[in-house]
């Protein structure tokens, strides 16, 4: 049975917001979130009952984020805004802004792969479905993204914990 849409918002709203932040930056994340859930609500009656709702929402967020990024390229706005309100939950010893800048500086595909795997927790096969290409390519993009982050994000370099 299909659960009420409110449950999807309750269960996945936070994850989708964080994914949107990673992909489009803090400034546009709220618009991307709103577009995502409105589109999801429109399509929800046709979603198969056994579908993975979170992967489905991230797929929609991915498309909406691309729309936002394309719209921004046509405007003279800076790319890779840091969030207006800095997190208090970041990696200890790191300046939060550093992680954001490091993530914003990643090539688009790496940033997407990192967001969908590490923030949304999707499997690489699901990410491949979103990005196009193979599961291996998705795994490589995430690994390359993490390697780049480790290079450019002092907090992570200092910790050096395995992924």
């Amino acid at each position: 049975m299909k659960q009420p849409f409110e449950q999807l918002v309750e269960q996945h709203g936070g994850t989708v917001l964080r994914v949107c932040r990673v992909i489009v930056g803090g400034h546009d994340a709220e618009d991307a979130w709103s577009e995502t859930f409105l589109a999801a609500m429109r399509a929800y009656p046709d979603l198969p009952d056994d579908a993975n709702a979170e992967a489905w929402l991230v797929t929609i967020a991915h498309r909406k984020a691309i729309d936002v990024l394309r719209a921004r390229k046509r405007q003279p706005a800076p790319v890779g805004d840091i969030p207006e309100a800095p997190t208090t939950l970041g990696v200890p010893g790191a300046e939060d802004g550093d992680l954001w800048r490091a993530v914003a500086a990643l090539p688009e595909k790496q940033r997407q792969a990192v967001a969908y795997h590490y923030v949304a927790g999707l499997a690489y096969a699901e990410i491949a479905g979103i990005l196009g290409g193979t599961t291996d390519a998705a795994r490589r993009a995430a690994a390359d993204g993490v390697k780049n982050l480790r290079k450019n994000y002092p907090g992570a370099a200092a910790e050096g914990a395995p992924s």
């Binding site: 659960q3 009420p4 918002v9 609500m41 800095p86 939950l89 990696v91 982050l149 992924s163």
Partner: protein, 199 residues
């Protein structure tokens, strides 16, 4: 390295999400996507869930009916496009507040009776004819709907009333004058009857 969802969380996420959810409710309404809007209100008979379709109030549910189950049923029977969106329920919430405050005797709300069918809906349509502070027996209601032998069916119609309080099944009693069953539990039925008797 440790990258996790927490790294991209913000201390203000709860506020942000609450604001975004409000905005989603308004946008969904504007786009005609809000098939079922709901909210909850406090009342002397416990927390009540109120739900409305674009046609009108479709469900009033007591706590003991289990609001999660009620929402699941609305999702299955009407549409899964269900959102907590209090705006559509503002008038209903205000009228119920007035009723529980003794300031209102008749509800003036568009109703959507699509959760019940056939004889049950027929009975539920006629129940508002029992005025505030009055009572009828199940047998009298059976006569009212032109089917005097359908006493048990009237009982079922009352027990499955999707709009308790607003559609006053609490005004229907057993022939011996005892309250009989009630979807909100016997305590709630008594509370409503006492409220109306006091006026």
């Amino acid at each position: 390295m440790n990258i996790s969802a927490g790294d991209f969380a913000s201390a203000t996420d709860t506020d942000t999400l609450s604001r975004l959810r409000d905005r989603l409710g308004l946008a969904a309404e504007a786009e005609g996507l809000l098939d079922v809007a709901y909210t909850t209100i406090d009342s002397p008979v416990g927390t009540l869930l109120l739900a409305a379709t674009p046609k009108g109030l479709v469900r009033v549910a007591y706590d003991i009916e289990d609001h999660d189950r009620v929402l699941d049923t609305l999702s299955r029977r009407i549409s899964p496009r269900v959102l907590r969106a209090p705006r559509r329920l503002e008038v209903a919430a205000r009228e119920l507040g007035e009723y529980f405050g003794g300031q209102r005797q008749v509800f003036d709300l568009p109703l959507d009776l699509s959760l019940s069918t056939g004889f049950r809906q027929l009975v539920q349509r006629r129940l508002p004819e029992i005025g505030y502070g009055q009572t009828r027996t199940y047998g009298q209601v059976a006569q009212l709907v032109g089917n005097p032998r359908a006493v048990r069916a009237v009982g079922t119609a009352c027990a499955t009333n999707p709009l308790p309080v607003v559609v006053p099944c609490h005004r229907v009693l057993k022939a011996d004058g005892t309250p009989g069953g009630y979807v909100g539990g016997p305590g709630a039925k008594k509370t409503l009857l006492l409220l109306e008797a006091a006026a």
